[in-house]
């Protein structure tokens, strides 16, 4: 006798349940790794960072601090504020706000207007502005430093003609100027790329109306371009503010943050100290900077976003 096995009838609800189950598995599998990675590398790292500030090295190993010395790392940090070295470090880091937000960004904004308005050979200039983003920072700093080499650098004959001793440029007080000039020189390109991309979204009708009405370029720049590019400007301003805490590679490659150069930054200090055993010190400095810097940066962002309201076009 032939056995007939009836397949279970799939009604609408069963189908949906099956479909939902399959979709649930799909969603879980797709998010499993990214969420696990985020939990470990963002939450885990940040929580561990806080915990590190309550530890101290004992015979090469980090141990929890005694309860009566709970804030030992913070006290040590606050004590260090009295030293000239720490004061100089905070000052040197603060200068990057001026460099990024008040020098590089306005220059880049002005430059990008001309790239956007298709200045002659703008395609070539766009590539030039891309170069700092394409080339490794190691190479850029190396070529920059080699150009000022006192013995056989590219600019040494020129500098000698003006009576400037190229030998001293990366040592002593002139070193910080060399780092700042580099940051502006190499930083303009990155800002120009993003600002030009922001400007390219401005509707053509608005620009044509300006042209028909005979609006001069500078008026167009201040009254039309800046308000309509404001979200990109805000983002770059905020990134510039973050550079106060994050700049470390430029001074590291150019001067190694050597004493007497005034180029040691918070970022470089954290990088250098993180390579040692006493991880509690850079973690405390980092947490202190986050607690001070994050609210300021978030508030600035919120404030800047209100300047022109929501840009919608």
């Amino acid at each position: 006798m032939e056995r007939i096995i009836e397949s279970p009838k799939l009604n609408k609800n069963n189908k949906r349940r099956f479909h939902l189950k399959g979709t649930t598995v799909f969603v879980i599998l797709m998010l499993l790794y990214p969420v696990a990675h985020f939990l470990l590398m963002w939450f885990g790292v940040n929580i561990n960072s806080i915990l590190l500030t309550f530890q101290m090295p004992v015979r090469g190993q980090l141990k929890w601090v005694e309860f009566n010395q709970l804030f030992y790392n913070y006290e040590t940090l606050f004590m260090s504020f009295k030293t000239t070295e720490t004061q100089e470090m905070f000052l040197a880091s603060g200068v990057y706000f001026i460099i990024s937000c008040l020098v590089t960004l306005p220059i880049a904004l002005f430059f990008s207007y001309f790239v956007f308005k298709k200045i002659l050979a703008n395609g070539f200039f766009k590539i030039i502005f891309y170069l700092p983003s394409i080339l490794p920072l190691v190479v850029l700093t190396l070529v920059y430093k080699l150009s000022f080499n006192p013995n056989n650098g590219l600019l040494s004959p020129l500098l000698n003609a003006f009576g400037i001793e190229a030998a001293n440029l990366f040592i002593g007080s002139s070193a910080k100027w060399m780092v700042w000039i580099f940051c502006i020189w190499a930083g303009i390109g990155y800002d120009v790329i993003l600002l030009t991309a922001g400007m390219s979204r401005i509707p053509r009708d608005i620009l044509e109306s300006c042209k028909m009405d005979g609006v001069p370029p500078l008026k167009e720049f201040f009254k039309i371009i800046i308000p309509l590019t404001w979200p990109t400007i805000t983002t770059l301003f905020v990134l510039g503010m973050m550079s106060v805490f994050s700049v470390y590679m430029q001074p590291m490659f150019l001067t190694s943050g050597a004493a007497g150069t005034g180029t040691m930054t918070i970022g470089l200090k954290i990088y250098q100290q993180s390579r040692g055993q006493a991880l509690n010190t850079p973690a405390t400095l980092g947490l202190f900077c986050s607690l001070i810097g994050a609210p300021i940066i978030v508030a600035t962002r919120a404030g800047l976003n209100k300047v022109y309201g929501d840009v919608d076009y």
């Binding site: 790794y33 990214p34 960072s49 170069l131 394409i134 080699l146 993180s274």
Partner: protein, 315 residues
Amino acid sequence: MESLGKAIKLRIKEKRANSLQEAYSRKHDILYHRKGGEKALFIVMFIIFMLFAISFIFPFIWVILNSFKTKTDFSLNQMGLPQQWVLTNYIEAFTAKDNTTNNFTVFQMLGMSVIIAGLGTIVTVFTSSCAAYVVAKYKFPGRNLIFSIVIFSLIVPIVGTLPSQIQLMNALHLNNTIIGCIFLYSGGFGMNFMLLYSFFKNLSWTYVEAAKIDGASDFKIFFRIIIPMAKGPIIAIAIIQLIGLWNDYLTPSIYLSKMPTIAVGLKALSDSMIAKGNYTLLFATIIVAILPIIILFCCFSKTIMENTSVGGLKG
């Protein structure tokens, strides 16, 4: 070889036609008609731009020219053309090594960069695509929470997590391993996530609905329909990511110090070459180090330039 030559010729021809077309449209476009003060302003800015361009190009031309000189030639003539064009620096550059690079040659360091940047790019773009697609297109409990936390993590600057990260990597025994470096790059919730999220959010759902009616599974839809549809932005993000990882110094310098990538090794080699006064070799090494990235940029300049946005590029 012949077909490659033809392809290059075709590409050059195409580029030339495009630039001619652009020049023509620019000439006849009302927006770019300038007179009087406006014209003068643009001329002044053109001169400033040229000076800026020269400041970037000239040092690299100087490096290239000097890389073809002998040591003696360079010491006598730093500014002029080589007396005799030699390739010895380039031959030596590929095999140059030092104790500071754990005796890795430049060639080996280039290989390390290919592995690290290549695998890192593949993994991070894949995880970002998976996360962005699901968060953008599927409704599930916690979706808004995930999105809000990701936005928060991108907006709020947190300083000094490096010591904690180092401790964690040591605890996981991932320090000085290739897999550890790639693990660090493999996060799916960075800027790539945001870019792909906005792409998927605006993507038409019609094809997916049609595929669902035909009984295709979610995995099949993702791999057979969504990924091919998102090929453009995924490739663009991958190229930008590849350049970023190739140039990255921080992660390999800390977590892969025994197997240096070219960015890390070049710094170590340059210090030692400068100390020995071997500048011509250093110049050749610099060119060898940046050549792959320049070639990549030349091949995909249009894609890169059209798709660059915040956070996409930074050495």
